[in-house]
Structures are given as structure tokens and as C-alpha cells.
Amino acid sequence: MKTRSAFLFALLVLATGCTDMKDQARFEPLESSAFFKNQQSARPLLERTVARGFLREDDAMYRGLAADGSFVQTLPVEVNAKLLARGQERFNIFCSPCHSRTGNGRGMIVQRGYKEPTSFHDARLRATAPGYYFDVITNGFGVMSSYASQVPPDDRWAIVAYIRALQLSQHTDVTLIAPYIRSRLEAGEVVDPAMSVEEAHDEHDGH
């Protein structure tokens, strides 16, 4: 009896050395595997299959195309301040290295020798449908690669909306600007674009 329990105890002690809890028998994301030829543990999708939740049937939403195959003229998502803020953030992350924060095409990577893209304030691009921008982000254009793997569809639309806002910021009919903001701009003041009439008056009284 005694020898048996001693034996079992010895087994137990030995067993602790058998598993390495620090490196368990599972793959972490992107861990390499000797099993597959290109050593990727995560397998790519088989051709002609769709992952659950990734069915992209809506042409307007996922390809920027209208029913007749032309680029959509309006965004298929609701445009609001939240979308624009998101678009601004995403534009600054993914597009500004080349297109610059203002969209004039003189970003840092261009200054280091990358091909200079056309400015977004160019007349041709201002006249182009939103669907076109979506298509360029999704499929690339000329030497610019596709950003589909880095920017999901919702964010692509947010970026498109923000590019439109950028374009407006450089090309707008001054008579469309609310008078209380316009007078301040003409006086050379920096104005918060989200300022309401009430705020403008309050601030004015304070001076």
C-alpha cells in the first residue's frame, strides 16, 4: 500500500514537468505552424466561400454602386457629426500620410519621394460621385494600393463623408455661411465650426 501511494505521488510530481503552462498547445494569433506550406497557422478562406456575417450583397453599401452600375451619388449611410468625427480620425490615420491632412496630396510620404496624388480640391475630384471614393479605397487606384484590409466598409464611408467636408472647407460660397460666423471669419478670428447662434451671442456679450 505504502509503495503504491509513493509511486502515485512520484508520478504526480513527474507529471508537473510534462506540460508547459506558459506555452500551451494552441496557436496564438499569427503564430507560425510547421504543418502548412506557407507556415501560417490561420488559414485563408477557401475560394468561393463566405465567412458567417460577411455576406456583402448590398451593392451600394459594399461596392458604392447604384442599381445601374454607376457610382452612387449619395452616401448609403446617415451623415451626422459623429460620422464626420470618425471619418476625420480615420482619414488622418490612413490617408494623411500621402494625401496630407488637408487633402492637397503633399503628405509626408510624398515629401519623401512617393508619387504625388491629385489634390482632392481639384475640380475633377470635387465633381466626382462619393461612390468613386469608396471604390478607390476598396480597390486601389494606379500605384495606390487597396485599403480594404485596413479600413472596414463603415469607416470607408465615414472617410468619404469627411473628404466631402474637406472639399467644402476649401470651396464654399461665402453667402452660405451664417452671418454671425462670417463676420467673425472676416475679422480674422478663429471660429469653432460647431458654435451655435446662442453661443456666439453669449461670447459676444462677454467681450
Binding site: 500551451q24 506557407n38 507556415q39 519621394g113 512617393y114
Partner: protein, 215 residues
């Protein structure tokens, strides 16, 4: 009976007793230091990588945002390492003949991933998640240090449990506005924010139960 030991040996025995305790203390101290050494934790160690990718160059000098490459850091547990295609967004035209980038072009042409060595690697029995930290306003800098000053990346902290806990006990001082998580050299004073107040706004909690990280 005659004394075997001379009186003077009394001192020797005292020294031996004290010495024994001292020796033991040093041994324990040394073992403790050993577990915290960079040999054990991997802190400050630069690994040999297939391409000498410089964070200093790409982030500080070119101003590329962390999320351009580490795209999943805001939504998932894993921050993500960029695929070769991401390097080729720029390196299809820039430095496209440099021998330094040969492994990148090779990888792109043959559709075989570049095998980066992991710099940070928690044991598999620990659960970590980037998205919650980023969502609660903990900056990359708080855990990875000044990445923008690292020509070659290394692990800035020990990643030991005591390190995680030192923040989890009181996370408030490490809270920053959500739109500043990737900023390097962040100083709340420059932005006129109060970390404690932000922590309240974001409802940052102190999570120190074992099951938070060991699940």
C-alpha cells in the same frame, strides 16, 4: 574537563550564526533579483528580426499612426502585426531597391509571411485584451514606453503580475482622453485634462480579482 575550544572561538561561532542568516538573506534577495532580471522577463532585450524595422523612423519622423499598422488594437484582444501588403503600400515606390527591404519584397512575391519574432509574450495562462485598455483611455505609452524613440523595438516593462497589478490597483493616474491613446510623450497638463476626473467619466474600475486575468 578541559575546554575543547579556546574562548576566542565564541566570536567565530557568533559570526557563523549571523553569517548564516546573512547568507540566506542574500540568497533570497539574489533569487528575487534573478526573477526580475531582464534575462527572465525579457525587458529591454532587442531581438534579431528579419527586417530591421524602425518605429522611431516610421512613427516619430514620418508621423504614421500606430493604428495604420496595428489595425485591430481598438477592437480586439490582439493588436495585430501588419501583413507584408501594408509595408508594400509605401515600399512599392519608396526604397524599392534597398537590400534592407529584400525580405519584404520576397515575402510579397512568394505570398509567404515575414516571420517576426515576438517581443512581448505573456504566458498562455494569462488573459490580456488590448481593446478594453484602449477603450478606457490607457495609452500605448503606459505599457510599451516611448516606442517612437525605439529604432528597434524592445519590451519596456517587466510584464510581470506585480506590474499589471500596480496599475490595476489604481488605474486613474494612467487615464487619458480616448483620442490621445496613441500619443507619445503625453502630458495631461498640455491638454488641460484631469486624469482622475476622466477615470470617473469613463467609469474606470480597479480590477484585481484573480479571474480577471486567469480565466
Amino acid at each position: 574537563m578541559a575546554q575543547i575550544f579556546h574562548r576566542s572561538t565564541n566570536a567565530l561561532s557568533r559570526i557563523t550564526i549571523f553569517g548564516g542568516v546573512f547568507f540566506l538573506a542574500v540568497l533570497i534577495w539574489a533569487a528575487d533579483q534573478w526573477t526580475r532580471s531582464s534575462y527572465m522577463t525579457g525587458q529591454d532585450v532587442v531581438l534579431h528580426q528579419p527586417v530591421p524595422f524602425s518605429h522611431d523612423h516610421h512613427t516619430a519622423q514620418l508621423g504614421i499612426d500606430c493604428r495604420y499598422c496595428h489595425t485591430s488594437v481598438e477592437e480586439s484582444a490582439f493588436a495585430g502585426i501588419p501583413p507584408t501588403a501594408t509595408c508594400m503600400n509605401c515600399h512599392n515606390l519608396i526604397w524599392n531597391e534597398s537590400p534592407m527591404l529584400e525580405p519584404v519584397r520576397q515575402s510579397y512575391a512568394t505570398n509567404t509571411p515575414i516571420q517576426w519574432q515576438r517581443v512581448h509574450d505573456l504566458p498562455d495562462f494569462v488573459y490580456f485584451n488590448h481593446s478594453i485598455h484602449v477603450a478606457k483611455g490607457v495609452g500605448c505609452e503606459s505599457c510599451h514606453g516611448r516606442v517612437d524613440e525605439m529604432p528597434l523595438i524592445y519590451q519596456a516593462e517587466t510584464l510581470q503580475m506585480e506590474w499589471c497589478l500596480s496599475c490595476h490597483r489604481d488605474p486613474a493616474p494612467n487615464t487619458r482622453p480616448r483620442d490621445q491613446v496613441v500619443t507619445m510623450g503625453f502630458d495631461p497638463k498640455d491638454h488641460g485634462v484631469d486624469p482622475a476626473q476622466l477615470a470617473e467619466e469613463y467609469n474606470v474600475q480597479s480590477l484585481i480579482y484573480c479571474s480577471v486575468c486567469h480565466r
